[in-house]
């Protein structure tokens, strides 16, 4: 029994890292732009669908992943336009994109799921590349390198003038406009980068599990948020640097999947897992609010005395 749990650990780490990339995308909208973007539920599948279909057609996996990234950016662009140009609230704009992506993803794949066989095609990562392969082919190693690379690029980008403008937009729109920042433009850019990353993780996910499925993104935003929140809960006191904060989010993804495996191993009904995930996220989102409310009350009482 315990052995089966241990056996499932490397897989959990690989899954966690892939979702960690997705969660970094969520972090960009949720924490940096201060927008809850629900398009990610659709764009993760778009990334997977584009990647699988291109690999099936014989394209190189690197090109397939690049196109998946661009497809995700396009999805973010649409959400961004709906929100900034047409004035639709961000959450609703995300839902509209997500729903339309369901149709688009069906059209990309032609049916509700598509597989790639790792024996037939050259893939970057796969369930099969976890054991008995040289370390540089090991999926955990490969994905770890990708995560570090992405964090490096994002760290650089958010330190540039344009990246700083995105951070300022998320922090204080009135101030940003007063400083000549086109907040609509940078909101769209932020959404594009976020959805690009999410689609990229979808491309990795579909290769890793060997298939893309129309429902693979269901509840993705909740898993992404869970990873963000877990990462912050564990490391917020230690990791102050931006790059380390992103690393914390990726590690949050791993922790999520290890706990996930643990819960399955404990024999919890797998149908209940989504409910459980949502409940965990709800609790963690509520804690800072309740804490704040409680503290303010205590403070006021203290003052009255």
């Amino acid at each position: 029994m315990l052995l089966s749990l241990l056996n499932s650990m490397p897989g959990a780490v690989a899954f966690g890292l892939i979702w960690g990339i997705m969660a970094i995308g969520v972090y960009i909208t949720f924490r940096i732009l201060d927008i809850a973007d629900l398009s990610v539920d659709g764009s993760i599948c778009t990334g997977g669908a584009v990647c699988i279909m291109m690999i099936q057609k014989g394209y190189n996996f690197a090109l397939a992943m690049l196109v998946a990234f661009l497809a995700g950016m396009l999805a973010g662009f649409v959400t961004g336009l709906l929100h900034t140009v047409l004035g639709i609230p961000a959450i609703l704009a995300g839902i509209l994109t997500q729903l339309s992506l369901y149709s688009i993803n069906m059209k990309i794949m032609g049916k509700s799921n598509q597989i790639v066989n790792v024996d037939k095609y050259d893939l970057l990562v796969s369930l099969r590349y976890i054991r008995d392969v040289p370390f540089y082919r090991n999926s955990i190693f490969v994905i770890s390198c990708l995560v570090l690379l992405l964090i490096g690029v994002l760290y650089w980008f958010f330190g540039t003038e344009a990246g700083s403008a995105i951070r300022a937009t998320g922090c204080n729109r009135a101030m940003s406009k007063a400083q000549g920042i086109n907040t609509s433009f940078y909101t769209v850019i932020g959404l594009m980068i976020s959805n690009g990353l999410v689609a990229f993780s979808g491309a990795l996910l579909s290769q890793y599990q060997g298939f893309a499925d129309i429902n693979m993104g269901r509840g993705a935003i909740v898993i992404g948020l869970a990873a963000v929140i877990i990462g912050e809960a564990i490391f917020s006191k230690v990791f102050r640097n931006f790059a380390l904060k992103l690393l914390a989010v990726a590690i949050g993804g791993i922790v999520y999947y290890i706990v996930y495996q643990l819960v399955i191993w404990l024999g919890v009904d797998t149908d209940m897992l989504k409910l459980l995930s949502a409940a965990v996220v709800a609790v963690f989102l509520a804690v800072p609010y309740l804490k704040d409310k409680h503290f303010t009350k205590a403070f006021k009482k203290g003052e009255e005395k």
Partner: protein, 264 residues
């Protein structure tokens, strides 16, 4: 130079909340003018400043800065010409970003923001010197998050940010109203210093009649969406609060009833 020609603004037109906040305001500021603006609540002072800043478009009339018609420019494009400090100390700065990052953002006002590094080593040195002028010790806390600063410190920083790229017009919207009297006086001092140093054309709203008289070379009073008094030159220099109250009664035909403005 700023020219405002006959601008009108109505909020929520066609609803029960309809309010015409500006009723044909015309105003010309010459270069180097430091104009203080007073008036009761709802007189249209902040609306006038927001109209200049482009928070929304005016219904009619035109706004010209340095010969360029900016009436239809969106807020972020107009920012090129304007330095702004708001009433709420939270509004003028990005709380989750560092002091030096805020300054770097302001230093790029009106410029294209590309993939160059967001803040250079040279800028850091420059900011350190500029922060010393404020006398708040912020030069030693340049990587502190702005959210950790007090309201007065934030307003002083916002002033510095507004003047980093010399603005054509400096807009101050009751920027000391949320501060305690001592801090308010200090921030006003800093304001004076920066305006004199850079010879900035300034429009400053205040609730405090004394401040309005002491500062600047020209004073305007607003009521009900119009400018009802415009005093400058020698007349402004010899003005007292009593004079101002008399003039208000003369022009408006009613007593000045805003306690806050009288007592402040």
């Amino acid at each position: 130079m700023l020219e405002i020609k006959n601008i009108f603004k109505t909020f929520n037109p066609g609803t029960i909340n309809e309010k015409t906040a500006l009723k044909g305001v015309s105003l010309t500021l010459n270069d180097g003018d430091f104009v203080t603006v007073i008036g009761g609540n709802g007189a249209g002072k902040s609306t006038l400043l927001n109209a200049i800043a482009g928070t929304w478009q005016v219904d009619s009339g035109s706004i010209i800065i340095d010969g360029k018609d900016v009436t239809n420019l969106p807020e972020h494009k107009r920012a090129k010409f304007l330095g702004r400090v708001f009433q709420d100390p939270m509004t003028g700065t990005a709380a989750t970003m560092e002091i030096e990052e805020n300054l770097a953002l302001a230093n790029r006002r009106g410029k294209c923001r590309g993939l160059k590094i967001g803040i250079t080593a040279g800028e850091r040195k420059e900011y350190k010197e500029l922060l010393k002028i404020l006398g708040l010790g912020l030069e030693n806390r340049m990587t502190a998050k702005v959210g950790l600063l007090s309201g007065g410190q934030r307003q002083a920083l916002t002033l510095l940010m507004a003047s980093l790229q010399k603005p054509k017009i400096l807009l101050l919207d009751e920027h000391t109203a949320a501060l305690d009297p001592k801090t308010a006086a200090k921030v006003l001092d800093t304001t004076e210093t920066i305006i004199n140093r850079d010879k900035l054309t300034t429009l400053m709203i205040t609730h405090n009649m004394k401040d309005a008289i002491v500062h600047g070379n020209r004073l305007i009073m607003m009521m009900d969406g119009k400018i009802i008094l415009d005093i400058s030159g020698e007349e402004k220099k010899s003005l007292t609060v009593e004079d101002l109250l008399h003039k208000f009664e003369e022009v408006s035909g009613e007593e000045f009833s805003n306690d806050k403005a009288i007592l402040g």
